[in-house]
Structures are given as structure tokens and as C-alpha cells.
């Protein structure tokens, strides 16, 4: 009997070790390629092979000396900034209305607003390109902005709605009892309390628009975004500067997403 319990116990321990190993292997598989990218971005050699002979910052310097990289980086920053602000404002009002108004088809409204998140980006890119072509709208960064909004508005809506749903209705009712109008309540109660959700939404939609490739690829012609620039560099042949750009983009997004998730997990 005693033997059987020890057996069962050691089997349990064995399963635990297996599961912990799975976590470690997954982390390893996720992080090793990224680590390689960062390592090679500082490698002196033109080709990405071991052993690494020396370390240098020249790929970073060359990247910033290339006007087309700098230009596309600037384009992407402007695009992502304006997309995130617009999407968050529209998403905030949408989320507040969807939760607090007594509109008839509340649930249908909420779920259909999320539909753009349920189709592949490429479908939206193709559909909008054909649509704009037919309406004779010239392709530019502005059409990319319009395309990104289709995805980021639902994303903002989802993030902010989750936050506002945590705010007890009684807070607002108390403010009304004290004579505040709905607009004042919105500004004094709802806005400050949903602030972490708004920040999370700004950061997530920014990241999305900054990194998004396929919609932008369909919706712009001459003005490049950074992902398109990286893509065309990768497709036309090998260029060690890609390691440097990649490392930079990776670290920027990592920081932003980390901050966003911290805000999203924060409780009221």
C-alpha cells in the first residue's frame, strides 16, 4: 500500500516535471530566433553564420543613413499615431453607448461590430483596394489609415468595453442624483475610471497599425510604411540591415505591448 502511494506520487512528480519542461521548451523556441536576430544585428560579418567574428553598430548607422528607411519609419509612426487616436475615440463612444443605452438590438450591434476581427486581413485589403479603385480614390497613406481603422475600431471597442463594464452603474447614478448631467458624468466619472482601458486601447491599436503589413501593402502605392519597406528588402535579396531594423521594431513593440497589457490587467 505504502509502495503504491509512493509510486503514484513519483508518477505525479514526473508529470509535473514534463509539464514544466514543456513551458521551458516553448519559451526556448519562441525566444531563440529573436535572440539570433538581435545577435546578428550587432555582428560584423555580412552573412549570418557562426562563429561571429566581431561586434559593430554599423548596420544601425547604415539604416539611419538611408533616407528611404527613415522616411518609411516616419510614415509608419504618423500612420500608427493617427490610427490609434481615431480608433480609440470612436471605440470609446461606441463602447459606452453599447453598454449604457437601451438600444433594441444591443447584442446584435456588439457582435456585428466585432465582425471585422473575424475575417483575414488579406480579404479586407483586397476588398478595400477594389472598392477604392472603383470609387476612383487614389491610393496613399490616407487609404491605409482608412483600412487600418476598420480593424482597430473594433479592437478599441473591445478593450474599452471590457473596462467600462467593470464600472458599477451606481457611480453614475450617484452623480446624476447630485445633479450632474450625462455629459458631466461621462467626463468626471466614466472617463477617469476607464482611463487604463483607454491607454491600453491606444497602445494596442498603435502597435497593430505600426506592424500591419498586408492591408497597407494593398492600399498604398508609392508611400511606403516600415513593414512594406522591410518586406521589399527581404524579397529582393539579403540585406544585413534588416537585422537592425527588425531588432529595433521588435523592442519598440515589446515595450508598448508590455505597457498595454499591464493597463489591461489593472482592476477598477
Amino acid at each position: 500500500m505504502a509502495n503504491r502511494t509512493t509510486n503514484a506520487k513519483s508518477k505525479m512528480e514526473f508529470n509535473k516535471v514534463l509539464l514544466l519542461m514543456l513551458i521551458l521548451i516553448v519559451l526556448f523556441i519562441i525566444y531563440v530566433p529573436i535572440f539570433l536576430l538581435i545577435l546578428f544585428s550587432f555582428s560584423e560579418g555580412r552573412f549570418q553564420v557562426f562563429p561571429i567574428t566581431g561586434y559593430t553598430l554599423k548596420w544601425y548607422a547604415q539604416m539611419f543613413a538611408d533616407p528611404s528607411f527613415v522616411k518609411s519609419l516616419g510614415n509608419s509612426l504618423i500612420l500608427a499615431g493617427s490610427t490609434s487616436v481615431t480608433a480609440t475615440i470612436i471605440g470609446f463612444f461606441g463602447a459606452y453607448s453599447a453598454l449604457r443605452s437601451n438600444m433594441k438590438f444591443k447584442n446584435i450591434f456588439s457582435s456585428s461590430m466585432l465582425l471585422p476581427l473575424a475575417i483575414p486581413y488579406i480579404l479586407l485589403g483586397v476588398a478595400l483596394r477594389i472598392y477604392f479603385f472603383n470609387l476612383k480614390v487614389p491610393l496613399s497613406l490616407f487609404t491605409v489609415y482608412l483600412g487600418h481603422l476598420t480593424f482597430t475600431i473594433p479592437l478599441a471597442f473591445l478593450t474599452i468595453r471590457a473596462r467600462i463594464a467593470q464600472i458599477p452603474m451606481t457611480y453614475e447614478e450617484a452623480a446624476w442624483d447630485l445633479g450632474a448631467s450625462r455629459l458631466v458624468t461621462l467626463k468626471e466619472i466614466v472617463l477617469p475610471l476607464s482611463f487604463p482601458g483607454i491607454i491600453a486601447s491606444l497602445l494596442l491599436t498603435f502597435t497593430f497599425a505600426f506592424d500591419e503589413f498586408i492591408i497597407a501593402y494593398f492600399l498604398t502605392r508609392f508611400e511606403m510604411t516600415l513593414p512594406i519597406k522591410i518586406w521589399s528588402t527581404l524579397i529582393t535579396g539579403f540585406d544585413p540591415r534588416v537585422n537592425a531594423v527588425g531588432t529595433m521594431v521588435f523592442l519598440i513593440t515589446l515595450i508598448i505591448v508590455f505597457l498595454a497589457q499591464k493597463n489591461a490587467f489593472d482592476q477598477v
Binding site: Y131, S181, L254, Q261
Partner: protein, 291 residues
């Protein structure tokens, strides 16, 4: 009438707040989709510039009679399902391990460590996979050093690499959805299984897995949608020679110029997604209402 009553009555006017969103949805989502559905029944001449607006099934006919297209289509389905399967197989034990095995204070950190990298540019990550999987890359040198293989194995530029890339992405999506359910499972249910003499495995099979089904299904559906539409992994990792549906779509618009045909590919992709996703919606809904 009190102030509160007045405000409650004004709830109807609140709908104005949802208006910009609804209008945007109509103009930049619904209309373009309807427009490409209509376009798929039109036809273009050989230059692609003149479009005949008479109703025709020509594009669908040419899709389904062209063997090259059929192969590409089936390949898309095969690659997508393999990726999602890989995602589920990894994500379910992973989620169990994070929720039930590792110490409480590490849980959120481990989850964030796994999930966060997937938010960054997919192009950059696919490129880092190229570095990792290439013939002279660390994976091959590692395996050869340990005598596991004699010759470098070529994974890169085959769809095995595509499946690895998309499979890990699916893993992340299934993990997030399954984790949120597992973390909320009432521990007294697990104790009940133990009281009846069941072990950890019984707890998993009788309680945890059945309760996690809605999360696994939702995660799998979202992953499947991403895999079917992805263009980056099949091109950068799969090598782009063995064509998939997304590549056909791009070719029909970028190298050739045939709007009705590109629309047809899009509609076929949309229908494929609907066919695979709709039967599962009821499982996801059941999970949401907590039945």
C-alpha cells in the same frame, strides 16, 4: 420627474455615440465585402481593364476546373488545419501547466512571456525563423553536433516551416482563450473528483477539459481564420513556390490585373471560413453564457 428618471429616459439618445462606429462599419467593411461578392460574378477581358457587368459564373468555373488552383486550395486547407492542430496540441497542456502546476506568483509572468512576442511584427518573426531554421542555422548545427542527424535537414522553404510558424501563432491564440477559462475553474470541483478517488488525470479529463472546450474552440476558430488568410508565412518560410490561396489572390491583383478573379478568390476564402466556423459558433456561445 427626478433627474435620474430623466437621464434614464435619455438612454435612447445615447445611441448617437454608437453612430460613428456603425457608419464606419457600413462604409468601410460591409459595402466593400458586398461589392467584391458582386464583382465575382462579373468578368474581365484579357487586359483586365474592361469589365463586363453581365452575370456570369465564369470565374468560379475557371477556379474549379483549374487543377493548379484546386491543389493550391487544398494545400491551404491542409497547411491551416495542421497548424491549428499543432496549436491545440501545444496550448492545452501548456495552459494546464501554467494554471495548475507552476507557483501562483509566476503565472502571469509566464503567460506574458509567451504571449507578448506574438504581438510584434509577423514579418520580423518570420525572418527570425529563417535565421533559426536555415541549413547553416543553429537548429541544424545543434542536431548535427548531438549526432541526431547526419545531414542538415531542410525545413526552411517547405510548408513544414510554414506550419511551424503558423502553428506557434495558433498556440498563442488557443492558449490565451483556454487560460482565461481554466483560471476561473472552481477548485471545489477538482476536490470533488479527488474525494471520489480520482487522480490528476481524472480531474483533467472529467472537469478541466470539458469546461475548457469553448475556449479551445474559439481559439482554434480564430487561428484557422488567420492561417487560411496568411500570406507572410507561406512566402517567407514556405518559399512561395508551392502556392496557397492568399498568394493566388495577390498574384491576381499585383502581377496580373483581374478584379473579378481576385474577387472570386476572396469570396471562396470567405465561404471556406464560414463553412468551417459556423458549425462551431454554438460551442463558443455556450461557453459565454456559462451554461
Amino acid at each position: 420627474m427626478s433627474q435620474v428618471q430623466k437621464l434614464v429616459r435619455s438612454e435612447r439618445r445615447l445611441m448617437i455615440g454608437a453612430l460613428p462606429m456603425a457608419i464606419y462599419f457600413l462604409i468601410f467593411f460591409l459595402f466593400p465585402l458586398i461589392y467584391i461578392i458582386i464583382n465575382s460574378f462579373w468578368s474581365a477581358d484579357s487586359t483586365g481593364m474592361v469589365i463586363d457587368r453581365a452575370f456570369t459564373l465564369k470565374n468560379y468555373q475557371s477556379f474549379f476546373t483549374n487543377q493548379f488552383n484546386i491543389v493550391a486550395y487544398l494545400r491551404t486547407i491542409g497547411v491551416s488545419f495542421s497548424s491549428v492542430l499543432m496549436g491545440i496540441v501545444l496550448a492545452v497542456p501548456l495552459s494546464y501547466a501554467i494554471v495548475f502546476v507552476i507557483p501562483k506568483k509566476w503565472k502571469q509572468l509566464v503567460l506574458l512571456a509567451i504571449v507578448t512576442p506574438f504581438w510584434t511584427s509577423f514579418i520580423i518573426r518570420a525572418f527570425s525563423w529563417q535565421l533559426f531554421l536555415s541549413e547553416g542555422g543553429p537548429l541544424n548545427s545543434f542536431l548535427m553536433k548531438w549526432g541526431l542527424i547526419n545531414q542538415p535537414i531542410s525545413i526552411l522553404y517547405t510548408h513544414k516551416a510554414t506550419i511551424i510558424g503558423l502553428g506557434l501563432f495558433s498556440m498563442m491564440i488557443v492558449l490565451v482563450n483556454t487560460y482565461s477559462i481554466m483560471v476561473g475553474i472552481d477548485r471545489s470541483l477538482l476536490e470533488a473528483v479527488s474525494d471520489l478517488g480520482g487522480g490528476k488525470w481524472d480531474q483533467f479529463v472529467e472537469v478541466i477539459l470539458p469546461l475548457s472546450v469553448p475556449g479551445i474552440v474559439l481559439g482554434s476558430m480564430l487561428s484557422l481564420i488567420i492561417c487560411i488568410g496568411d500570406y507572410i508565412a507561406p512566402t517567407l518560410l514556405g518559399g512561395g513556390v508551392k502556392t496557397v490561396l492568399s498568394q493566388l489572390m495577390i498574384q491576381s491583383l499585383k502581377s496580373g490585373f483581374n478584379i473579378p478573379m481576385a474577387s472570386t478568390y476572396s469570396v471562396i476564402m470567405l465561404l471556406t471560413i464560414l463553412i468551417f466556423v459556423l458549425p462551431f459558433v454554438k460551442y463558443i456561445k455556450r461557453g459565454r453564457t456559462g451554461e
